[in-house]
């Protein structure tokens, strides 16, 4: 290790191109059908097996894979042209129909795919009945056109997400069976039929016919499924696992010394905060605005991320994430996210003049997710600054907490979080704060925000779009439908035998670049 540093030798070690990289995973929630894979366990396997129109590099920028070009004059009517020569591992050619049919399958109501809403902006989509995506038209084998319901400048950005992967025609005979042994066109493929050992592991080998931008420098990938990250951490220490993409809480203090120069701790596309419902007394209107700002300024984010999370969280300065293009730490009004006890007390007192505060401030969380420590720290911070009673309100499971949240039965704030599906500001804003959006549980509504979001989506350039999205965030900073807390970092470690471990924008290592030597 030391000699390697001293010599300053920059040439990468020769990796064994046949070596299999082992990494941690978790049992996919569903058979691996791209449009039904919206969780991370299945997601990282699916993106290894499939190649979509585009893929994301380490910075979260898109690079063309199957697509030769994705073009539009008005951001509403898109023409997608495909590269020639792409094949699924069963020999079938990847054509325009491979995409159009797969997207239609994913969007169809009766197929009940978890990612169906990703197609809702394509003309023809219906949330309540089976309906064809009439906005998709196959021109020829290597061209199709897409008509969106309204202009969206950053529409191509999302096409690297699992939901947009192509499917071979063999899939439609029996989709469930296909999901057990998926056939893709990505850098890796299943080592054999039945390579998915449920709850245990999944073996992938390189796809010899793959010729995209993610050409593997190794011989394959084995995802070992862990129920506990502590066991996975011990396995990297014991030499049974090459790459771990999530250091367990228990090792936060020691991972940097356990794996000198073989660890990463950087912000990820995960935003965390807590929401104050608008149906609660004291939390709407002008009084609510003041109280939200007061609460936000009474939390010492820096200290909590340092003490509770050992620096594995980064205090929030906006509503997105530092890894997203267009992120800013200097939005107008962002000072409301800084710890400022005097100002917090002043705002709280001002709100009390409108209507005196009564009762206890509580913050709901699910106790099976390791949230108790930070919730206590946050409520203590609020209590100490504002001098009100503030406590955590544990629910036994996520399901129980979600139930009260969805039924508008909360008695206080609720933990809220978002992990980006694709690297775009829009993905962090629209699903959570747009009027009537799917994850807008607390029913925030702001015509100004909605209008800015719409303008951003319809902007002709990405720069214009970013400017509008930042303005939209400034509306959020004034309203604070959610109190931003911090961005979760990706923390990973790897063994001495591997090199070239770089984490992507989505907290998943870029597996194809990893090399391994014995």
């Amino acid at each position: 290790m030391l000699s390697g540093c001293a010599s300053g030798d920059a040439t990468p070690a020769e990796g064994d191109t046949a070596a299999i990289i082992t990494t941690n995973g978790s049992e996919p929630q569903n058979p691996l059908i791209p449009t039904n894979t919206t969780e991370t366990g299945g997601g990282k396997i699916a993106t290894s097996i499939f190649a979509g129109l585009v893929s994301y590099n380490a910075k979260g920028e898109t690079e063309n894979e199957v697509a030769k070009s994705i073009e539009s004059d008005d951001a509403q009517n898109w023409t997608v042209t495909l590269n020639d020569g792409w094949e699924f591992t069963n020999g079938e050619a990847v054509t325009a129909n491979s995409f159009v049919d797969a997207w239609n399958f994913g969007a169809k109501f009766s197929n009940a795919q978890s990612a169906s809403y990703f197609f809702d902006d394509i003309v023809g989509f219906d949330y309540e009945a089976d309906s064809e995506l009439t906005g998709l038209k196959v021109v020829d084998d290597s061209t199709f056109t897409v008509e969106l319901a309204s202009p969206e400048a950053d529409w191509p950005l999302r096409l690297g997400y699992t939901a947009f992967m192509p499917l071979p025609s063999a899939a439609y005979d029996d989709m469930e069976a296909f999901g057990e042994d998926p056939i893709g066109n990505g850098p890796y493929m299943l080592a054999k039929k039945g390579a998915w050992e449920h709850e245990v592991k999944m073996d992938l080998v390189t796809n010899p016919d793959y010729d995209g931008v993610r050409k593997p420098a190794n011989g394959g990938l084995t995802f070992v499924f862990y129920a506990s990250m502590d066991a996975a951490y011990a396995d990297v220490q014991g030499g049974n696992l090459d790459v771990l993409d999530a250091v367990p809480d228990a090792a936060f203090e020691s991972y940097e010394s356990d794996f000198p120069e073989r660890f990463v701790n950087q912000p990820a596309a995960i935003f965390q905060g807590f929401n104050m419902p608008y149906y609660l007394e004291h939390w709407s209107g002008e009084e609510g605005k003041l109280r939200r700002a007061a609460i936000s300024m009474s939390i010492d984010r820096k200290e909590i991320t340092d003490v509770i999370f050992q620096g594995t969280r980064t205090p929030a300065t906006d509503f997105t994430s530092p890894v997203i293009d267009g992120y800013s730490d200097s939005l107008k009004g962002a000072e409301v996210l800084e710890y400022n006890p005097e100002e917090a007390k002043a705002k709280w007192a001002e709100a009390d003049k409108i209507a005196p505060y009564t009762g206890t401030f509580d913050l709901a969380y699910n106790s099976d997710g390791g949230h108790a420590a930070w919730v206590d720290a946050v409520t203590n911070s609020i209590k100490n600054t504002l001098g009100i009673e503030a406590i955590g309100k544990p629910y036994p499971t996520f399901a129980a907490a979600l139930d009260d949240r969805a039924a508008d039965k909360l008695t206080g704030g609720t933990r809220a979080g978002w992990q980006g599906d694709y690297p775009s500001l829009y993905n962090f804003l629209a699903p959570l704060y747009q009027t009537g959006a799917g994850s807008n549980y607390e029913d925030y509504t702001s015509p100004e925000f909605d209008a800015l979001l719409k303008k951003g989506a319809a902007a002709s350039s990405v720069e214009d779009a970013t400017a509008k999205y930042q303005e939209a965030q400034e509306v959020l900073l004034a309203d604070l439908p959610t109190i931003p807390l911090w961005y979760s970092n990706v923390t990973g470690v790897w063994s001495e035998s591997v090199e070239g471990v770089v984490f992507g924008w989505d907290s998943v290592p870029l597996y194809s670049d990893i090399t391994k030597s014995e």
Partner: protein, 309 residues
């Protein structure tokens, strides 16, 4: 004896129905919508959740759900998990591994526990006895996960003598370390039980008689003392087999063993009725059979116990 055994086996039927009904009801009563929770912070389209709820009969009243489950159960269909896998497949993977782990642990704790307990009992107050007491006290008071992490760190990470976690085939040599962890607490109890029982029996009339008859010490200890001392130990082992089968969640987690405890824990968290109930039903059967075996063993161990019609 046969009559007794038959009667005990027949008792399993109401126990089975009672336990499954109760457990199904408990899972049903868990707060929250299990399907909505599957998707975390990103809910799918509203219609998607309804369709999936209907697919798993979650839209029906409790008693209908239960009878659908029981009806399918007797046709050999245990239902599916929320990921679409047949519960029978999940069981076929989890039970063999857990059974191997539990039996290995049981063998370790029984053999070493009785051996140490016997020696300690025979040498009451001596150094060996005192050390056995101290060690067992230590094992009882230190939580299993501490023992697990320490053994894993020392033997697997530092010394490299064992694999840190158990691989998918779970061969016996890899299961040895987890089995030791699993056995540790019960080992301590068995040492104490055996020791107390042996030292009691050493002063019993029948032992004095046996010694007076001029039997060798080996025969007195082996046949008269040990055999009679085993009654409480066997009772403990019988109950322990059950808890080793289901209570290995901590150990399974540390060594990443895909066994019964972890599967049931996960299923409870997901609110997966069919999985939880199917597993529990099998466990109930195991518990009942283990208890029956213990009762039958009493008769073999203690000549004073006989089961009449």
């Amino acid at each position: 004896m046969i009559w007794y055994t038959g009667k005990r086996l027949l008792q399993m039927i109401p126990v089975f129905f009672g336990a499954t009904l109760l457990i199904y009801f408990m899972v049903f009563s868990l707060p929250g919508d299990p399907i909505a929770a599957l998707y975390g912070d990103r809910p799918p389209a509203p219609g998607v959740i309804d369709q999936i709820r209907a697919q798993y009969n979650l839209d029906k009243p409790f008693i209908v759900q239960y009878f659908i489950y029981i009806g399918n159960f007797f046709q050999g269909d245990l239902g599916t998990t929320y990921s679409g896998r047949p519960v029978s497949d999940v069981m076929a993977k989890a039970f063999p591994i857990t059974a191997r782990l539990a039996l290995l642990a049981l063998a370790i704790e029984a053999f070493f526990g009785i051996l140490v307990g016997l020696i300690a009992g025979l040498r009451k107050g001596k150094l060996f006895d005192t050390s056995a007491l101290v060690v067992s006290l230590l094992l009882i008071s230190v939580p299993t996960f501490v023992i697990g992490f320490v053994l894993q760190y020392v033997f697997a990470v530092q010394l490299g003598w064992a694999r840190t976690t158990v691989s998918s085939e779970a061969p016996l040599n890899e299961l040895l370390l987890p089995a030791l962890v699993l056995a540790s607490v019960s080992f301590a109890y068995i040492v104490r039980l055996t020791r107390a029982s042996v030292s009691d029996n050493l002063n019993a009339d029948f032992v004095r008689t046996a010694t007076a008859k001029g039997l060798s010490r080996r025969r007195v200890v082996g046949v008269h003392v040990l055999r009679n001392s085993l009654v409480p130990v066997v009772t403990f082992l019988g109950v322990d087999l059950g808890s080793l089968m289901v209570g290995a969640i901590v150990t399974e987690g540390i060594f990443n063993i895909n066994g019964v405890g972890g599967t049931v824990y996960k299923a409870i968290k997901l609110g997966e009725g069919p999985t939880v109930v199917s597993f529990i039903a099998v466990m109930v059967v195991i518990f009942v059979l283990a208890n029956l075996l213990v009762d039958l063993l009493y008769a073999a161990l203690d000549p004073r116990i006989r089961y009449a019609k």
